[in-house]
């Protein structure tokens, strides 16, 4: 690419190559990988839900956060459906997460602890929240692209590729909203 990263006038993901993938390191099979991804989606859902509650005075932002909350819920469902399709068994990610010792942490897609993010949300400007949300989504996009390539099984790779596509779409929505607020 001409000019290298300096010529790239667009969003970048941050963190070491393994940063996000480290959350998946304790997972030993597709069941646990799906459970970790599911818990990240749940973390992001809680974040967007709370952000929507705090920004009640801005109907357009509330609507986008409502849609993102629903999208994260849809991701959770599609993860469970993929798991059931792959294994022929019903999935219970909460039990799996507890067994892996990750239940208490509660992390969002970018690896940020949910508790810390919810505290951070208090008294923030809309643009600050949108900035964080975009950082969250770009790192999730980066993570899912890399996980998709790393997965040896074609079907599990496809799960992450689909999640990556969705995160890219979220980024575009958030970017448009942020542009309109600057």
């Amino acid at each position: 690419m001409e000019g290298g990263i300096k010529a790239w006038n667009g969003m970048v993901a941050t963190g070491t190559f393994e940063a996000g993938m480290a959350f998946f390191a304790p997972a030993t099979d597709i069941r646990e990988i799906v459970a970790v991804a599911w818990s990240m989606e749940e973390g992001s859902r809680r974040f967007y839900q709370r952000a929507g509650e705090l920004l009640r005075s801005d109907p357009e932002t509330v609507e986008i956060f409502r849609q993102l909350t629903e999208a994260e819920d849809a991701h959770k469902h599609s993860l469970l459906a993929s798991y059931e399709h792959l294994t022929g068994r019903r999935a219970d990610p909460t039990i799996c997460i507890q067994k892996m010792g990750m239940a208490e942490e509660g992390i969002m897609e970018g690896g940020i602890p949910v508790k810390e993010a919810l505290v951070w949300l208090q008294d923030r400007e809309i643009t600050e929240i949108l900035d964080l949300a975009m950082g969250l989504e770009i790192n999730a996009y980066d993570l899912y692209l890399k996980m998709g390539r790393r997965m040896e099984a074609e079907e599990s790779g496809r799960i992450f590729a689909e999640l990556a596509r969705e995160e890219q779409h979220h980024l575009e929505r958030l970017g448009q909203l942020l542009d309109s607020r600057l």
Binding site: M1, G4, I5, W8, N9, T16, F17, R149, A164
Partner: protein
């Protein structure tokens, strides 16, 4: 790699062309390689980029799928 490989033409793409390429192609249809140092990658990288620092590239060529186009920065 032989001496003659240095003279093989390598097409370059502008950042805008890369942006369009990434938007129009499935992530599993290309290699996107960041050849900078790990600290530089950590500060900011193109989403989905694989980190292979230039000094390591020769020993890690097997990680790059030769059947797919490769974008390097």
């Amino acid at each position: 790699m032989t001496f003659l490989d240095f003279f093989k033409p390598v097409p370059s793409m502008s950042a805008d062309a890369v942006r369009r390429f990434l938007a129009e192609n499935s992530p599993d249809s290309y290699n996107l390689i960041d050849v900078r140092q790990p600290k530089e990658y950590e500060r900011g990288h193109l989403p989905g980029a694989q980190l292979i620092p230039l000094p390591d590239l020769n020993g890690r060529l097997n990680e790059i799928d030769r059947n797919k186009p490769t974008i390097v920065y």
